[in-house]
């Protein structure tokens, strides 16, 4: 049967996507507003972008955020990939139930609980709050997301390729690095990107675990938003949106190309 989109289907898709994208679009448009009043249009201007780059505190926060996100996403990718391998390749090992519980719980756990509990832990072990505590906290949260992304890929993975390599005499580690890893690489990259954006974005957990000299961009934005809207924040948001969009599009193109290439090789 050929599926036909009914008028109802088309209307709900159009309205749904309008709802998702209109607020973001308005934010981007108003970042080029000449007026200081955020909701009154005062002509086209790029002055807020200039103001943004001259805002030392905001730039510094962006740099801290970027470093935390890169570091925590890298560690989380390694840990998450290991956890995904453990869940798919190790059968019923001791404590598996607890392990799956610990992998799925942080993803839905309200952030206030995760943030508070990690902070109390860091206080208990007498670790100074700051850059490192946020990094550790973000690693813990985001590794669970990496696990799920990589696990989903490993589930659909054709084990016979690994078996073939082993039959031909490749030791397990070598098989992993030359067969398994290249095949699951796109999902690992996707997991890394997810971990990276989650870390960039996090306000609640970072607020609990921050310390002197470790103000992240979301913390900074949040404190400014509480004081009122500012066109500078619109400009900062637009840059972030642009970066993320570019990142997602290039990731999609990359994975498409790798799919095409592997299809070509298969023929």
């Amino acid at each position: 049967m050929t599926r036909r989109l009914s008028l109802f289907n088309i209307t709900s898709l159009v309205l749904g996507f309008a709802f998702l994208y209109l607020p973001i679009l308005l934010l981007v448009v108003y970042s080029f507003n000449g007026s200081r009043l955020v909701t009154v249009w005062g002509g086209f201007s790029t002055q807020w972008y200039g103001a943004l780059f001259r805002n030392q505190a905001l730039m510094e926060a962006a740099w801290v955020t970027l470093r935390i996100a890169l570091l925590s996403a890298s560690i989380a990718t390694v840990l998450g990939t290991l956890a995904a391998l453990a869940l798919t390749r190790y059968g019923r090992f001791t404590g598996r139930t607890l392990f799956t519980g610990m992998v799925y719980a942080p993803m839905v756990m309200p952030e206030v609980i995760t943030g508070l509990s990690l902070l109390l832990f860091f206080v208990a072990i007498d670790l100074d709050r700051g850059f490192w505590t946020i990094t550790l906290a973000h690693t813990t949260l985001t590794m669970c997301f990496v696990t799920v992304v990589v696990q989903a890929r490993l589930m659909t993975f054709d084990r016979s390729l690994e078996e073939a390599a082993m039959d031909l005499g490749a030791p397990p580690l070598r098989t992993f690095f030359s067969v398994t890893l290249p095949l699951i690489a796109p999902s690992i990259v996707a997991g890394f990107l997810l971990a990276f954006t989650l870390s960039l974005d996090d306000l609640v957990i970072a607020s609990f675990n921050t310390g002197p000299g470790a103000t992240t961009l979301p913390i900074k934005i949040y404190s400014q938003v509480r004081l009122g809207l500012s066109p500078e924040i619109n400009a900062a948001s637009t840059i972030l949106i642009g970066l993320v969009t570019a990142g997602v599009i290039s990731a999609t193109l990359l994975s498409k190309r790798s799919v095409l290439r592997s299809r070509r090789n298969a023929h």
Binding site: F8, T39, L82, M102, V108, E111, L120, M143, V204, S207
Partner: protein, 301 residues
């Protein structure tokens, strides 16, 4: 030879051990500490609670723990109201998410196959842009003199500015907006696999479209409905950012209460007790969610 098999076993054992240990140290142990501190008393000290654990005086440490904070939670009905209101707001939001998300997921599942991956990417893309920024965008829209009022006045629908910001409605809009991908994606995943011939058969046998929707589509989409609803409901109960930025001071939610106990009142033991309370409310949904997810991933072809 023997040595080699030992290193092999060691590396093989490290695969589950490393993430296991990490989560044990940074996820499980912190919870036990929250539990312990919820049984402590606040103190003007560093850290701001008593007793502090010491190996030399374990008996004294245990003796100093009490359930005073939990008694306070039951005596002051603020926490009870906050819990109830959080569950209510999250529940209504989840229903709204189903109402908004289902038609979208259904439309996506019926779209021609070559467009589907683009539609999925378009649903995910807003999720990659900052949560905070997406909530922030709504402030400018919902403000009394904001863009929604301007648009509706321009169209002649209203003459007075509408008050949405700082009401519960703004919280609903915020949650539905921010969580929509979490609802649409699980729904889409089940709807996409649905066999159309079942619907055709029902129609051929004289069923109305409305009836076949309820007797065929909805039961078949149930795994997606459950997963999507839990994925939205659980974090929504403990939501802080949305009620704080959009909800105004009247909106009572438990995540916000925890935040203010911690940051404004600096009462760490009470904040920990609130965290335990929130966890008790959520423990059942979280366990169900874990089972649903684990089964979904493990039965995948």
């Amino acid at each position: 030879m023997k040595e080699r098999s030992f290193t092999k076993r060691l590396t093989a054992g490290l695969v589950p051990a490393v993430p296991y240990l990490w989560l044990g140290v940074f996820f499980l142990v912190p919870f036990l500490i929250v539990l312990k501190i919820s049984l402590s008393d606040p103190a003007v000290a560093q850290p701001p609670y008593r007793p502090v654990f010491e190996w030399s005086d374990i008996a004294g440490f245990i003796g100093a723990l009490d359930v005073e904070n939990f008694e306070l939670l039951t005596q002051d009905d603020l926490y009870f109201r906050a819990t109830l209101s959080s569950v209510r707001i999250a529940g209504i939001s989840t229903l709204l998410l189903l109402l908004v998300g289902f038609p979208i997921a259904y439309g996506m599942a019926r779209a021609p196959e070559r467009h589907r991956s683009l539609l999925v990417a378009l649903i995910i893309l807003p999720f990659w842009t900052s949560f905070l920024i997406r909530i922030y965008a709504w402030i400018a829209i919902l403000k009394p003199e904001g863009l929604l009022t301007q648009a509706l006045t321009g169209l002649g629908v209203i003459s007075e500015p509408i008050e949405i910001l700082n009401t519960e409605w703004a919280v609903y809009i915020g949650i539905v907006y921010a969580y929509l991908p979490f609802m649409v994606l699980p729904l889409y995943a089940t709807l996409e696999k649905m066999d159309d011939t079942l619907l055709e058969a029902a129609l051929d046998l004289g069923s109305t479209p409305w009836r076949s929707f309820w007797t065929i589509t909805v039961p078949l989409a149930m795994p997606g409905i459950i997963a999507g609803s839990l994925l939205c409901f659980i974090p929504a109960v403990g939501e802080f950012v949305i009620p704080d930025l959009l909800g105004g001071s009247e909106t009572l939610m438990i995540g916000r209460q925890l935040w203010s106990e911690f940051f404004s009142n600096r009462d760490w033991p009470l904040a920990s007790a609130v965290a335990i309370l929130l966890l008790i409310v959520l423990v059942l949904p979280i366990v169900i969610y874990r089972d649903v997810e684990a089964r979904r991933l493990e039965t995948r072809p």
